[in-house]
């Protein structure tokens, strides 16, 4: 009797399709987490370990203002070099957005809208409306126009491209605001770090919603109102978050039996900024994943 070894047929190996672009959400997560860690380290150093002289506030504040740009270059710009299909023009979007923030939007907000004269003293509802229609819209339209004009025609290839370019615009925009703040009124290192994280979060989180709207408008051909709805929502989120944060973080003045004052709670402000940034990232990521899944199903249906 002859026996032979059973002949086995190897199952076909499913090859993973190569993703040719740099991973945007991974870059964003690394960027946000490392900025949060840097902020916490600055706070611990300044509050408990170091006694920093006031004369060093300006250079330190300037350095802190530039940290987000460095982290963005490290986690978002550098990986593009290793990608098969790198995104072009990210640095241009970053730079133009920063120039627009410093040269156009900030003068409009301070010189024309003069928000410092009327918004901080207004009641909560007026502040929400004011921060939405004045500041939120001014910020978002600036970033939107930069991304729309520089990338729409030739640089947007997938939905994630719009998120990558909006991130570049948001970080560039916030960096310009942070540099201006550092030069005008340099705060103590911990306060400067908290302010920098807040500016980044309040620039990036609404920007991601606009990025989602841009991506959908570019690749899904949705209702013509989707983009403006996402834009309005982004401005509203900025307005609500800014007004609520100042209410919750700033020191209060309470008249209960005797005059009491409370200290500001910057850690609480940092927590609000972090929740806004990471929460919005998760929401937008799931919206984009859902849109891509829907599109894949449609494509598969057409193929059958």
């Amino acid at each position: 009797m002859r026996t032979s070894a059973p002949r086995l047929i190897a199952p076909p190996v499913e090859e993973q399709p190569i993703y040719p672009y740099a991973r945007v959400w991974r870059s964003l997560a690394l960027f946000g987490a490392s900025l949060l860690i840097v902020t916490m380290v600055m706070w611990i150093l300044d509050s408990f370990l170091l006694d920093i002289e006031r004369t060093l506030y300006t250079p330190i504040a300037m350095g802190v203002a530039l940290i987000p740009a460095g982290l963005w270059a490290l986690f978002a710009l550098l990986p593009e070099r290793g990608a098969l299909e790198p995104r072009r023009g990210l640095l241009a979007v970053f730079a133009v957005s920063a120039l627009v923030a410093n040269g156009v939007t900030l003068p409009v907000i301070e010189g024309v809208l003069q928000i410092e004269r009327w918004l901080p003293l207004a009641d909560l509802v007026t502040r929400i409306i004011g921060y939405t229609v004045a500041v939120g819209v001014a910020h978002e339209i600036s970033k939107y126009l930069v991304v729309r004009l520089l990338t729409w025609d030739s640089l947007l290839r997938t939905r994630m491209d719009s998120i990558a370019y909006v991130t570049a615009a948001a970080v560039g925009y916030a960096t310009a605001l942070n540099i201006v703040a550092a030069l005008r009124d340099p705060a103590a290192p911990a306060a400067a770090a908290f302010a920098v994280f807040g500016t980044i979060a309040f620039s990036l989180a609404p920007g991601l919603i606009v990025g989602y709207g841009l991506g959908e408008a570019r690749f899904s051909n949705p209702n013509a109102f989707l983009l403006v709805i996402s834009f309005a929502l982004a401005a509203l989120i900025f307005g609500v978050a800014t007004a609520l944060r100042s209410n919750l973080v700033n020191a209060g003045f309470v008249l209960v039996e005797q005059v009491q004052t409370s200290a500001p709670s910057p850690i609480f402000g940092l927590a609000i900024s972090a929740i806004l940034l990471f929460g919005m990232s998760i929401i937008v990521a799931s919206l984009i994943a859902s849109a891509e899944r829907r599109e894949a199903e449609i494509r598969a249906g057409e193929a059958k």
Binding site: V112, L113, Q114, I115, R117, W118, L121, A122, T126, I129, G130, T132, V133, A134, V137, A138, E140, I141, Y144, R148, D153, S154, A217, R218, N221, P222, N223, A224, F225, L226, L227, V228, F231, A232, A235
Partner: protein, 208 residues
């Protein structure tokens, strides 16, 4: 690119191929721009309505009624009818002071101005009269007198460690029934011109 027979480029086409937007994409962009423009208009209106909001003040004893800016603090405990101050301002608090002085038969507006100047020169540091306009046109069309002056205001609380502020002041004097109404506007000299419209609006609505 096309080439002629001797391999020299004849026509060079320069340009990029652009994907044409669909109608929806174009309109979605327009809607964003329209929305931003509408919000900007709303923001300017909101700013004006808050900055120009006023509160009514009336003093029965002197018959003075005025609309002063909302959020300013009113004070009628001093040697004047009342004063309102912008307490939210950092540094010197912009103020409008209304006072009434009786005028004798022999007393002229000029005498009143001289008395004010003499008094201020003794109490205010670096007091200087800059200009006197005796043909100042009041909001009701009548003629009054205006005096522009300056002085240095030093913070009385040494703990605050602030630099002295150069203050610019404007007195507008109107005479009614042997009484001189003196309306004074005081502001940091750097912001005096910027804030003067507030005073003009106050003056326009002042009734006495």
């Amino acid at each position: 690119m096309t080439t002629s027979t001797n391999n020299i480029p004849a026509i060079v086409e320069i340009g990029r191929t652009e994907a044409r937007d669909t109608l929806r994409q174009r309109w979605s962009n327009y809607f964003v721009l329209i929305y931003a423009a509408v919000c900007l208009i709303i923001a300017i209106n909101l700013r004006d309505s808050i900055l120009n909001a006023t509160v009514r003040y009336s003093d029965v004893a002197t018959g003075i009624r005025a609309n002063y800016p909302a959020n300013w603090l009113v004070d009628d405990d001093g040697d004047y009818v009342f004063q309102v101050r912008d307490a939210s301002r950092v540094g010197f608090k912009t103020a409008i002071i209304v006072d009434v002085q009786p005028l004798g038969l022999a007393t002229t507006t000029r005498n009143l101005l001289d008395a004010l100047s003499l008094d201020r020169a003794q109490t205010l540091s670096g007091y200087r009269t800059l200009e006197i306009d005796e043909t100042y046109i009041l909001p009701d069309g009548s003629t009054g007198t205006a005096m522009l002056y300056t002085y240095v205001n030093a913070e009385v609380n040494p703990v605050l460690q602030t630099f002295p502020t150069i203050v610019e002041g404007l007195d507008v004097i109107a005479v009614r029934q042997e009484q001189a109404i003196i309306v004074t506007f005081l502001a940091d000299a750097r912001t005096f011109d910027e804030e003067r419209p507030i005073f003009e609006r106050f003056l326009n609505a002042l009734e006495f």
